[in-house]
């Protein structure tokens, strides 16, 4: 690890700014206006669920609401609607808590289920690339934009939500916050306390898309072509 040409480069910038270079002591000011904290202020979880559900439509994502007891049936239905075949998911304690292994027992015998296993290395990525469906839990969910936030780690590869044709996010209702403002504040506080942020934090709002050809919206480009968000009442 190395840093090249830093002093020369930054000294020049300070000189252009007409002052000595600063490497410490700059304090981020309190901004004079802060409209970001006013959005959906005081709303309860039910109101946020409504906003979330409406926004799902805008981002071409199917929205399903259920509770823990019925999650199994809902998930089986969604998986079948995507044609089953092969599924990849992270190694996540929530898999058991929410009864995913039970759900997979309901599927056809020939459905391939792969739980991310870092001990087999790059093979995980190859399996993800071939998989028909990726399933993850959302860590923080943003109501305003219908966004799931994923903190990736050695048990949760980035490929799972990115490479398969279809993506299913399971969203515990308690993870809902108004907007990205709250997610950013949570991450910022952790950094202030000296925690390391995950090497990859994804904010995903629906399937991949593009308007690069004559401004026509095409849903499904490099990432998933279809997405379903399942909100689970706890």
């Amino acid at each position: 690890m190395a840093v090249y040409n830093r002093d020369e480069f930054l000294n020049k910038l300070a000189a252009k700014l007409g002052r000595p270079r600063r490497t410490e002591g700059v304090v981020r000011p309190v901004w004079r206006v802060n409209p970001q904290y006013e959005v959906f202020k005081g709303m309860d979880q039910e109101e946020l669920v409504d906003i979330f559900a409406n926004q799902c439509e805008a981002i071409h994502t199917d929205f399903v609401r259920t509770d823990v007891a019925h999650l199994k049936n809902v998930l089986v239905d969604v998986i079948k609607s995507y044609g089953g075949e092969s599924i990849i998911l992270p190694k996540d304690p929530r898999n058991e808590i929410y009864g995913l292994p039970d759900c997979f027992n309901e599927l056809q015998q020939d459905t391939n289920i792969h739980v991310w296993d870092y001990t087999i290395g790059k093979e995980n990525e190859k399996i993800a690339e071939r998989a028909n469906i990726g399933i993850t839990f959302s860590d923080i969910t943003l109501a305003e934009t219908a966004t799931v936030t994923l903190f990736h780690n050695k048990h949760h590869g980035r490929s799972i939500s990115l490479m398969p044709k279809n993506y299913i996010a399971i969203i515990p209702k308690s993870t809902l916050v108004p907007r990205m403002t709250q997610a950013a504040a949570i991450i910022h506080e952790k950094i202030e306390k000296g925690e390391l942020v995950a090497s990859c934090v994804s904010f995903i709002s629906g399937p991949s898309n593009s308007a690069d050809i004559e401004m026509n919206l095409i849903v499904g480009v490099h990432g998933p072509v279809k997405a379903t968000y399942i909100l689970v009442d706890e």
Partner: protein
């Protein structure tokens, strides 16, 4: 390194743009949709002016302390296993990147859309290494196959129609399908997926670097940047030095301003925040990470009246409201950065020599300034550029001739008086619907770049004299 795309005079580029009917129609349609999308999002938020003020305040503070925040960023990236290279010039940046690629003995590189790599001419530099470089943004990939340049900073292939794209895919990649956008995109997905999986090195740009954690935030809809940052073991990020924010909290505010202003979306499908190398036992993501921070003329703006040009978050909303861009399109600017921000930024980065026409490619209507989510006074900066160009005695030829001709004519009371009397009938051959589009003599230079209202039958002076004689009230 010049930011010029082609070695042609400004007028020639403008003429090409004006004659390209498909492009003009596409641009005007896109402008309408982008503008409507932005206004709808602004209205939904309600207090848009407060958001703009917040954006401006964040950008002003950050750029005022850019040395501090870049220092912090580089410390954090290093802590997370990355290398940081500060490049004063395009050449320095390209030669560092080339060196990394050669050390890795890379065969294939995948890139996600990045304006700064267009600016420094990275692809040309990489061609010298013999490594295959694949652009992975759909629009950029289309342009790369054609050997063309982006004409818009958000939708680079705006000037291409689907039939042209079909032909290109057929000629270059053996595509046999229709010109339906879905089918074209599905073909691109398949082709590019295999490129992603084979790539040894990935190269990305940077929407916002977060100083407090050494994080790079990338904003896309296609998910291509995520593929670039997931598969290859070696990753290089190239960022313009000003693309930085203090913490995640400012990143969040600016990302929301960017996606709303750029494409009228609350957020794009993918906002991904990457920090350094993959952790131990993580499988995807790079294990060798390089951040290249580029000045390339940006520091010319620091401490000057153009400093706020560095506040730009590259949303393109100024481009989407500009009446001049609407008519001449992106390529006419003959710069990597088109539209009002391009006309402001290009001469700052690259000097006036090659770009002294750009500040005149504006009607100074101020729509750009009003649209800018971080309140950069764009049209005021264009006036300032013009002032400097005139003070340098370096007025563009057309402007000089126009002003000279009009000056001589208006400067002599006799000539002026005679001409205003005779003007209406004298100019009749050049007048159409009370407008002169291609005038003679001193008007030629003027009407080459703008129309002139035809003179009325009676001049003001003669009307005034007659009025006195007749004793009218």
């Amino acid at each position: 390194m010049s930011l010029k795309l082609e070695d042609i005079p400004f007028e020639e580029g403008v003429q090409k743009g004006i004659e390209n009917d498909f492009m003009r129609q596409a641009v005007s349609g896109a402008q309408g949709r982008f503008r409507a999308g932005r206004l709808k999002q602004a209205q939904e938020l309600g207090n848009w002016e407060d958001w703009r003020k917040l954006g401006e305040e964040i950008r002003t503070h950050t750029v005022n302390h850019i040395d501090f925040y870049l220092h912090q960023l580089s410390e954090q990236v290093e802590k997370r296993g990355g290398h940081v290279y500060f490049a004063e010039t395009a050449e320095e940046a390209n030669s560092y990147i080339k060196q990394v690629i050669q050390t890795k003995n890379a065969k294939k590189i995948v890139k996600s859309k990045s304006m700064v790599t267009e600016e420094i001419g990275l692809n040309d530099a990489l061609a010298e290494t013999g490594t295959e470089v694949v652009e992975s943004d759909l629009g950029e990939w289309i342009l790369q196959l054609e050997g063309d340049h982006p004409s818009h900073i958000v939708t680079p292939a705006l000037h291409k129609n689907k039939e042209q794209i079909r032909k290109t895919f057929a000629q270059k990649r053996g595509y046999t399908g229709s010109s339906e956008p879905e089918e074209l995109a599905a073909f691109a997905r398949k082709q590019l997926r295999s490129d992603f999986l084979q790539a040894d090195v990935g190269i990305t740009g940077c929407n916002f670097a977060i100083a407090e954690s050494g994080t790079i935030t990338l904003v896309t809809n296609e998910g291509n940047a995520d593929m670039v940052w997931t598969v290859p073991d070696t990753l290089i990020t190239v960022m313009g030095m000003e693309r930085i924010v203090p913490t995640w909290e400012e990143m969040e505010v600016l990302v929301g301003l960017l996606t709303r202003s750029a494409v009228g979306q609350k957020l794009t499908s993918y906002i991904t925040a990457y920090t350094g190398c993959r952790e131990e036992d993580e499988i995807d993501g790079p294990n060798d990470y390089h951040l290249v921070i580029v000045d390339n003329g940006r520091s010319n703006a620091l401490g000057t009246e153009f400093q706020a040009a560095l506040h730009c978050i590259r949303c393109g909303s100024c481009i989407n409201v500009c009446p001049v861009y609407r008519h001449i399109g992106g390529h006419a600017y003959n710069s990597v950065y088109p539209g009002p921000i391009g006309a402001v930024l290009t001469p700052v980065l690259d000097g006036y020599d090659d770009h002294k026409d750009l500040p005149y490619a504006s009607s100074l209507c101020g729509a750009c300034t009003e649209a800018c989510p971080v309140r950069i006074p764009l049209h005021e900066m264009l006036v300032l550029h013009r002032q400097k160009i005139v003070e340098n005695g370096d007025t563009p030829f057309a402007e000089k001739m126009m002003m000279k001709g009009v000056g001589m004519w208006g400067g002599s009371p006799f000539v002026y008086k005679m001409s205003t009397k005779l003007a209406h009938s004298a100019l009749k051959p050049w007048t159409k619907d009370e407008t002169i589009e291609n005038g003679p003599g001193p008007l030629k230079a003027w009407t080459a770049v703008r129309n002139l209202a035809a003179p009325p039958k009676q001049s003001f002076r003669s009307w005034f004299e007659n009025r006195k004689k007749d004793g009218e009230n």
